[in-house]
Amino acid sequence: MNPTSSDLRLDALLDRISRRHFLRNSALAAGAMATTSIAFSPDLSAQSANSIRTLVYVFLRGAMDGLSLVVPTGSGADAVQYRSRRIATRMAMDDSTPARRPLVLNGGQPFGLHPAATGLRDLFNRAQSPLAIIHGVGHLDPATYNRSHFDAQEQVELGTPGLQALSHGWLSRHLVGTTRLPGAIFNAVAAASMPPHSLRGWPETVSVTGGSGTSGFHPDPSGSYATTHLRALRTLYAGTGDLDIAAQSALDAVNVISGTNFAAYVPAGGAVYPNTGVANNLKLIATLVRAQIGLNVATVDVGGWDTHNNQGVFDNGGFFTLARDLSAALSAFHQDMEGAGFHQRVAIVVQTEFGRQVTENASAGTDHGLAAPMLVLGGKVKGGWYGQFPSLAPSNTPGDAVKPMVDFRQVLATAADKLVGNSDPEALFHTASSPFTYSPMGFWNP
């Protein structure tokens, strides 16, 4: 279904807001930049920098098998169902090999964590846990159930179940309602080669990947004339027209990225980021957060979760590696933020476009389902169990999928509102063709 004209008018309104926003701030930045060649953004008031909050949106692309990350355990009906319908991907507490058993989690619910996710287990089991696990998240309205990766990713990232083709993603709308650091060169980063749908319509987004990718955000990345090239570009675009302002912002962004010594970054709190794609991207984001350049939003994509064939939940198989790397990266990031005193200002939300079916398929893998768990991690998070796990009885599993019990928009709106202070969380998702009434969830501390 395509948006109606009134939805597109909503888009147009946001377009004017975000463009005005963008140009106004760019003009400020351009003025500040006029006489200084900078490495970082200009000297910003420590006070205002401290009040800036960052939302990190980690998207697991390919539809993660929620039942393999948050594993039903114990003797209850759901766990029995799960174990009876899995073979190669079946995990159980009574496994003769301890390393294959799900990790025990506090909170009195019959679920364990994938055995490789030790970092997340440790966070969840703290006395004041910063990790919330939300069961059964997806699209509530069966008319909007969608098992197409492309459709579902787009609908989730635009924040409109059943609707596609808006020109703004939910994070762009979030940025409109966010406190911005005056003079910030850019306030959104996508750790990817192109900004994701969730940031569609936010022109100042910088996309840069971690590891060796940080040198890629540059007109002439491997060039021997990089410095004079940048200098020449600045003089070519020294006017006051729209293109000049945009180019100056782009060059300022290049300066911020290339002026940040990512290689020399020292994580706080003794955190160690492994050398994996997801960890390198989170470390990049951590570097920018601690540099206090005014980052409000960061996105990370983690691919590979579409495990139709030989899912590999044990012994360094595919899913095992993904779960291990995700857990290690998220834990390192949180430890780093905590050690540096930033954990109250940063929140991570982890989501996938949909989950996978209860019954294993004929190729030791799983096929597309519906609901999956979400994770929310941060210093203001009130950790523990949230949402509602549906019964896995065959009468309650539409198309053999875990039935969605929690609207993903409530999770996102709660995170935007309670964790990073968005001023109008309902406006993030409510539109005529895809209505939404905000009802905050409980995973936050005041």
Binding site: A165, P203, S207, P219, A232, T235, L236, V254
Partner: protein
């Protein structure tokens, strides 16, 4: 008017004196496709005469010899294997296959062909217009195998076949094609209709959202002063039987000036039952051919833009029912304005003067039945005073596709972008190019919503787009630069072919500025020899000369500095880097800088 002038060779009548800035006597013998600047100047003695001659030539593409491009495509038959094959053949082989590469192949081949055609065709206005229509009738080509496996036909039989032709014929072809039937869901619109296609065909393809009257009742919509179909001479619109007793074109009939939601629903009903052949067998996937299925067609009379009065009688055959709707939409004056506005936005400015929009709309409407309606409309725009008005030059920023294609044309690119570009032992040049290019935000045929890539300045001014675009251009200047037979942009070759002996820094800079920008202002870009760099008459000239000499008083340079005039640079040093000068890299960096400039990236 195309993707920028091609600059590959200069035909000079004599050797250039070393101390002279290039004058225009050297371009007089320019050949189209090799030196478009020179060619353009050869077309007449005044700008108006030259423009008119060029436009009239370009609007008659079959009389422009494009055999060089054809030979280029024919030289790699495996890379362009589906381009000339019928829809049915390829669709049957590929659309239901489980192998992803098999299903995607036609799309991938057309994507590369689009670059090769845009860079190398002499029918530039045609290629520009093809790009326009691909966006106007946007389809997200990766949405489905039904689309990617029929893309060669969508590109050829719908877009390219009608780009200069008749709008109604193109609209009808688009509505019947499997790619559009699938993309906007009309293939499954049944008696309980799906409004998606009808909504977009009215809102985007024809009348335009600017003619939407909201949730109003049809009777409340203002009527056009006169019935726009009267006197057109269309047999179906003149037939009272089709219109349920009153011909659609009857002068007493009132036709709505705007559309309301009711018109969308009624139009959707007329378009129900339109299908493509999807009959998969063990060995084949169906042909994708169009047919109309009466069993899924909504029965009864309908009223589209009729202000409540019926326009389609009951029991019209499914195929005719929808087709009458498309005719009414195509021939409506609002459509003329909508399409005219978009064409003016493409060619002149984001907000073109109303005067040229009106003029183009009038032409579009006047030639509604003509087989070259669109060519006529383009002519009105391109020969208008608004198009020629210097106050409106530079109003468009080049989107990434236009930017990189014009950059390649301006620097004599000789590469054939193609699927399976494997002659380079280290990597597929076309694939590497596309992964750079796509990061700038305009991957061909991958815009998800039916409105197509935006055509406004602001959309393309994001930091990411600008940096990635600059980076892509830089990549082009560097790719395989060291190997004569493989370099994508023959920068060193053009330099050595057009400069005699050992040139000075200023001569190199003047040459390249004039070459890429297509002209030199009076006094040159950097001024006559001896002009201090800081006194260069143009900002671009100063920046370029400063970069090439690396003279930045008080600031560090990247390489050893060199005077602007006093010392010639050895030709051999330009060919191969040596010492602290790295002239070859510096030369390519100079070209990149000019291609990055606002002078080049706006038009």
């Amino acid at each position: 008017m195309g993707f920028g002038p091609a600059r590959r060779k200069k035909k000079s009548t004599r050797a250039a004196p070393l101390d002279q800035v290039f004058g225009d006597e050297f371009e007089i013998l320019g050949v189209l496709g090799e030196d478009d600047v020179g060619y353009f100047r050869s077309l007449g003695s005044t700008d108006d005469a030259r423009l008119q001659a060029y436009v009239d030539q370009q609007l008659d593409p079959s009389n422009i010899d494009d055999s060089a491009l054809m030979a280029r495509l024919a030289a790699w038959p495996a890379s362009f294997s589906t381009l000339n094959q019928p829809l049915g053949t390829v669709f049957a082989q590929r659309s239901c296959q489980s192998d992803y590469d098999t299903r995607m192949r036609p799309l991938r081949e057309v994507e590369k062909a689009a670059f090769t055609r845009a860079v190398h065709s002499r029918r530039q206005l045609f290629e520009l217009t093809v790009d326009f229509w691909h966006n106007h009738f946007n389809i997200y080509a990766e949405l489905s195998a039904r689309i990617s496996a029929s893309w060669h036909s969508w590109d050829r039989d719908v877009i390219r076949a009608h780009a200069f032709g008749n709008f109604y014929q193109m609209l009808l072809a688009s509505a019947r094609h499997v790619a559009m039937l699938h993309y906007l869901d009309n293939y499954r619109s049944s008696i309980a209709f799906n409004e998606n296609y009808a909504r977009e065909v009215i809102e985007l393809h024809t009348l335009g959202a600017e003619h939407y009257h909201g949730l109003g009742q049809p009777l409340g919509v203002p009527a056009l002063a006169a019935n726009p179909y009267t006197g057109l001479g269309d047999a179906e619109l003149d037939d009272p039987n089709i219109g349920g007793g009153l011909a659609i074109s009857d002068p007493t009939r009132q036709i709505a000036a705007f559309y309301v939601d009711n018109d969308v629903y009624e139009a959707a009903r007329t378009l129900t039952g339109w299908r493509y052949d999807n009959a998969n067998t063990t060995n084949a996937c169906g042909t994708g051919a169009f047919h109309a299925d009466t069993n899924h067609h909504a029965p009864g009379q309908k009223s589209v833009l009729g202000r409540g009065v019926l326009t389609h009688r009951s029991d019209l055959p499914a195929e005719d029912d929808g087709r009458i709707t498309l005719k009414m939409l195509a021939y409506h004056p609002a459509t003329a304005r909508h399409v005219a506005r978009k064409l003016c936005q493409r060619l002149i400015a984001d907000e073109p003067p109303e005067s040229v929009v009106e003029a183009a709309a009038a032409t579009f409407l006047q030639y509604r039945l003509a087989s070259n309606q669109i060519a006529h409309t383009l002519r009105t725009i391109l020969l208008s005073p608004e198009f020629k008005d210097p106050a409106l030059w530079g109003k468009k920023t080049k989107r990434p596709f236009e930017a990189v294609v014009s950059a390649m044309r301006a620097t004599g690119c000789n590469h054939t972008f193609r699927q399976d570009d494997s002659t380079n032992p280290s990597s597929d040049t076309t694939s590497s190019f596309l992964s750079e290019y796509n990061g700038a935000g305009q991957p061909l045929f991958r815009w998800r919503s039916p409105d197509g890539y935006p055509d406004t300045r602001s959309f393309w001014q994001g930091s990411n787009t600008m940096v990635r675009l600059w980076r892509t251009i830089d990549w082009l200047t560097d790719r395989d630069a060291a190997t004569a037979s493989m370099r994508v942009l023959p920068i060193i070759d053009l330099t050595l072919a057009n400069l005699q002996g050992d040139p000075t820094a200023r001569q190199v800079v003047e040459f390249w500025l004039e070459w890429i920008m297509g002209f030199a202002p009076d006094g040159g870009w950097t001024g006559p020899p001896g002009t201090a760099i800081a006194s260069a008459p143009t900002a671009l000239g100063e920046a370029a000369l400063r970069f090439f000499t690396q003279i930045y008083p008080g600031e560090p340079s990247d390489r050893t500095i060199w005077p602007a005039d006093d010392m010639p640079i050895a030709r051999s040093a330009l060919e191969v880097n040596s010492g602290g000068y790295d002239w070859n890299t510096r030369l390519r960096g100079l070209v990149a800088l000019i291609l990055w400039s606002p002078n080049f990236l706006q038009r």
